[in-house]
Symmetry: none
Subunit: 372 residues, 2 copies
């Protein structure tokens, strides 16, 4: 599997005097101003999200959520955030080569403002990419949908730029299917999460797998990647492992110190390490409710067990009603039988062509219709 091709090297000679493979401890706008125009091949930016959090948030079991409360994430107004965004984007565009591209990551707090600003500034959006987190923090209070993703924008330096996109590499990475605009990756934790004195070194460290995919997709070996919000240096570490150069800009000395050490420790990846950075194939999970939503089974339908001893009615939200019992297909199946648990998929049946069929057959039909 996987076609091995010769890797194209970066063609143009690097600009003289660039602070390559170094971290500049400075404000990002000032530092970019000091760089020559059209000198880097890609920019990855993880700017402040302007989260606008309220007071403390507590978990159901009592613990307090360790939120992002750093000063660098505080802006007085949207207008102030926009000024900041437009300023760094303008410098970024100047520093980027004509055929380079820009990546920015954000959440709904800031990404719409960033997207608008970069369109206004002349960048040309190529894709928006959704990082679907495999293990996001739940919504503890049950007030909204679990915020389970972040958004990345990939943009070229103008509409007609000839940007780099390693189509084959992405297709190979994705089991010979085209890489889609939604990426399922775990959040950064475990051994990968950098600590200082037992606590996390940076509140928003990004997983290396994310940068791995971005650099592999949009740069060539030897290319120079600029990260104006370097933090603890995920971009630098991945760039080194993939044989790319980096320029990091970071204001906080504490972050710079951690990043220096980390990049020094980063070793070029071998084959097996690369494999672990791939996302595991997401097991297709189909909730019963999806069958209701897609019209495969209608609210009001009566389900029975195979011997028609018990009956239950499907409701609009995919719950069942049987006597006084309500809940999921599994829960109601368990209750009517007086059993501790029950697999509702095989227990409940619906009538189809005069015969009883388990609702699991509907799930199989759905999977066949929607899987590539």
């Amino acid at each position: 599997m996987g076609v091995i091709t010769k890797v194209r090297q970066s063609t143009a000679a690097p600009v003289e005097g660039l602070p390559v493979d170094r971290i500049l401890m400075d404000d990002c706008i000032a530092a970019m101003r000091a760089l020559p125009a059209a000198s880097v091949d890609m920019i990855f930016a993880d700017p402040p999200y302007n989260l606008q959090l309220g007071g403390d948030l507590y978990r159901p079991e009592g613990g307090r959520v360790d939120a992002v409360d750093n000063d660098w994430d505080k802006f007085d107004t949207f207008a102030a955030y926009d000024r900041f965004t437009r300023a760094w984007l303008a410098e970024a565009r100047r520093v980027l080569k004509p055929d380079g591209s820009l990546w920015v990551i954000g959440s709904y707090h800031n990404i719409f403002r960033v997207g608008t600003a970069l369109q206004d500034g002349g960048f040309w959006i190529l894709n928006d990419i959704v990082w679907r987190k495999a293990n996001p923090m739940p919504n503890f209070k049950g007030t909204r949908f679990t915020n389970a993703h972040e958004t990345l924008i990939w943009a070229a330096n103008g509409e007609n730029a000839r940007y780099t996109f390693n189509y084959r590499a992405m297709k190979t990475l994705n089991d010979e299917l085209q890489m889609r605009s939604d990426w399922v990756l775990p959040i950064c934790g475990g051994q990968e999460r950098l600590k200082r004195g037992g606590t996390k070194a940076h509140p928003t460290q990004k997983p290396e797998a994310l940068l791995y995919r971005i650099l592999l997709a949009c740069t060539k070996p030897g290319d120079i990647v600029l990260d104006p919000f370097f933090g603890t240096g995920t971009t630098g570490a991945v760039a080194r492992r993939l044989g790319r150069h980096f320029i990091g800009i970071e204001r906080e000395p504490a972050y710079v110190e951690v990043a220096e050490q980390r990049i020094a420790d980063a070793l070029p990846l071998d084959e097996s390490a690369l494999a672990t950075m791939q996302a595991p194939r997401a097991a297709p999970r189909v909730p019963f409710g999806t069958l209701v939503e897609t019209g495969m089974i209608t609210p009001g339908t009566v389900l029975t067990d195979i011997k028609r001893r018990w009956r239950a009615t499907v409701r609009a939200d995919g719950s069942l009603l049987s006597g006084d019992a309500t809940g999921s297909i599994h829960k109601v199946g368990a209750v009517v039988q007086g059993a501790p648990s029950c697999n509702g998929w095989t227990f409940w049946h619906h009538e189809q062509d005069g015969t009883l069929k388990p609702v699991d057959s509907l799930r199989q039909t759905y999977l066949l219709a929607t899987q590539p």
Copy 2:
């Protein structure tokens, strides 16, 4: 299991003279202007994604502009789109009830402009939702990532609005896990795709499953949903099925004709099928003292937490005593743990048949015995 409660209906009486369950064949801004303020419970909007808005505001998209003039031209075009967006959003906000909410769907071409405009206009973003298409069109040229999703924004009418969110219904729909911000749903095709003379009746018809989830999540039965870009009426068809009212606005007579027929064919669900899992909050409140009064628990009974780390004694008035702490089951639970708050119903247990059971089980028993 599960408390059966009557489905909460929309509370406020609908505004007099509203064109409810009708399609207004008109420009959306003009039609909204004719509606009274604060009159609809939800708005779902599927505005044009590209810049071909028609009218004299917008230049035709046809010819490519030379790169030198590109910036200015793009600015001009984006500015025109922004004016249009801000205009319809302003009317939408006026027409929306204070506790109503807004949904907008878009792609990377327009969604950043829409998001910025609605934040500037005073809407408060609650979630951005990713509709992850189960079967998207591939990227034939292999020049970018397969564009496999669209983005929706869900926003309240201001930061402190008390919007509707049927948390329990969503959790049930998703097999007893919190509904996340990434939704996997098939695109609209097959039987559902409306045709006129063999070709698709509308280029961007949305799947009913998408609207089904949105209406189930954010409206109550009897609520009024406004769709200012009605198209072939997906919103209206789903609203009718789910026992919600709609107001559609659509300029194109051909779409209106298709929509009318489609909605007439949509079968409303009966009331029992419409029921969804209700939050405990919707159940009648039972003070702990009631259980003491009715003899379900005796003064002097000792309660403990599940691990028997803390003990408390029930007093005649339904308060607890633990060491020096006295007060409600919640307050004493919080005090002994040193936590900011505590749900005493699930924290405190009593011994029954040799095992510890949460006092909440007594409340459930009481509710079952006293509910009609």
